[in-house]
Symmetry: C2
């Protein structure tokens, strides 16, 4: 199956969205939240999601769902939101100046899961859609953060997403995998957040796929090499986003199944709590969505749902050489070609 637009022109004008674009995307985002919550409750066997519906004074609202103290998930949140207003915030307008002077609409579903066991990775997912006057775009992705890592798990996660990408465009996986490694990077630690996955933003079917920063010569070269892709329609992109969204449960649940019965002690638990500190550091120092939300009167409790339930910091911790902890740093916190792992 390929969803490439048969329109051969390579123009910089984004295709027009259908008249019912907002309803269709928000419908999908709600359904994605429902499916993910149902799948996670089934996998957990004990924990149930509790829902808070909330409204936003400036327009729109959402439904936040949180699971606490499950068998598998110490804490997990899956948040749907749909908001609108008179004007996009300045940080986004800088990226999309054509939206200036227009109202905006945004909808999305995001999720972070913090498992109890240090052998089950933390995982994050986010898909979002914006419309503002003449512009629209999709963004999103998913990434995996193991504590006691298994190459097999990283490979499974990446291969599942690669398959969902490849059904739509052969360039999606390499570009969005690269972008994920670039985005989820803790500069002050010189570590990736985990083993990555997919990340994309500002996808409106025009221009280069990679619209991230050109941090260094290698990035600039790589981005240039990726070149321009064929013009893609709104339907192409929505199909891809739906496919990627639905790939989450098959990408993640087999990892949970494989690792959930591994026994662990205080040492492993302590290392997990310590490494969760990196998740906090990333989300509060670097994550655009978190910072943007906190600075623009977002619903704080929904934004900070991503933070772990229990976290440790320890001055000057260094893993012992030749331990699983050292292996995490040496192999898993650096970009790797997981889809081709053997």
């Amino acid at each position: 199956m390929t969803a490439i637009n048969t329109n051969p022109t390579n123009t910089n004008q984004p295709a027009k969205p259908p008249a019912d674009s907002k309803e269709r995307v928000s419908q999908f985002m709600k359904q994605l939240q429902d499916e993910i919550c149902a799948g996670l409750e089934q996998a957990d066997g004990k924990g149930k999601f509790k829902e808070d519906s909330w409204e936003r004074a400036e327009g729109g609202g959402g439904r936040s769902r949180v699971m606490s103290e499950g068998n598998i998930f110490e804490q997990g949140g899956v948040n749907f939101s749909e908001v609108w207003g008179d004007r996009l915030p300045p940080s986004i307008l800088k990226q999309r100046p054509e939206a200036e002077g227009h109202g905006f609409y945004a909808t999305g579903t995001s999720m972070v899961l913090h498992p109890q066991s240090p052998y089950i990775p933390t995982v994050h997912l986010n898909y979002r859609y914006f419309e503002a006057g003449p512009v629209w775009w999709f963004g999103g992705g998913a990434d995996l953060t193991p504590y006691y890592p298994f190459a097999e798990d990283a490979a499974h996660f990446h291969r599942t997403y690669k398959a969902s990408c490849d059904r739509h465009h052969s360039e999606y996986y390499p570009v969005f995998k690269y972008w994920c490694d670039e985005y989820f990077y803790l500069k002050h630690r010189q570590e990736t957040r985990g083993v990555g996955g997919l990340f994309f933003d500002y996808q409106d079917g025009t221009g280069e796929l990679y619209k991230g920063p050109h941090l260094d010569k290698a990035a600039a070269e790589y981005s240039k090499k990726l070149g321009e892709v064929e013009h893609r329609s709104w339907e192409d992109l929505f199909n891809f986003v739906q496919d990627a969204g639905k790939s989450f449960l098959p990408a993640y649940l087999p990892i949970v199944e494989r690792r959930k019965n591994i026994e662990y002690g205080e040492k492993q638990r302590n290392f997990q709590l310590y490494r969760r500190g990196r998740y906090v550091e990333f989300n509060l120092v670097y994550d655009r969505g978190t910072i943007f939300g906190l600075q623009t009167n977002g619903r704080t409790e929904s934004i900070l749902m991503s933070l772990p339930p229990l976290v440790r910091w320890q001055y000057n911790y260094q893993p012992e050489p030749n331990t699983p902890e050292a292996e995490l740093y040496e192999t898993f916190l650096k970009p790797q070609d997981w889809a081709n792992w053997k």
Copy 2:
């Protein structure tokens, strides 16, 4: 005693520092670190500070001292540093454009203590001195963050600092107390970090004392009312900084003594760990020193020494009405006139 410069002119030219300014300030900052560490070890009775000396490739270095698992202090760090280089970072040059094109020198001592007991407040202190070409300035302060708060403790802390301020200028305490409430504010929570204390920056003896943002009309009015103070010399300011620095032990240790034997259970401990999350949120989202350090290749472990050893986040926590936890929010996380508490 008053240290007001007898020079009656009110000029915008900062006075020239003495030839041995850097040596004298760094000598004091080291001595302050020594005195504080000695006082804290004595109060703790068990914990000892461990020192790491470090060097900075671009020039300078420091000595980080950390105490872990003391009787009183679960974790505490006291850091001295003295650094120099070719150019101040852009964020500071924006505030001090006269420093452009000049090398810089900076020295300071900073401290954060996280006590084990929820009845003993977390406390932070920082004093710093910069020189860059024609400009120099002092900055610093100290602030108190209680979990189970006592008005008596907040009043003692403020009165001690007010006394040290009043020995140098009657406007210091009201301005630097106001600035502290303004700076240590979590906008996304609409809470102060704690009961405040003192905060000041860019003090070079000229112009208004308050050089913070004018966030709202009230702040602008208040700042205007503060007016200009008499021109102060380098010696005036250094005297004040030394006095404020040395006020820390008498401001804090009596609180430790009064509260260290209060028994507490899991409930109080859990609330403390939850509230420690606010400390993390403040330091990673708002604190200029932390963000600046992380973005400019500072020594990560020394910068993040301020983060608590163990932290909880809990979705949508609300204190029960008419409890000590609710009282913290209602009274202590809002600016109050603690020095005049009765």
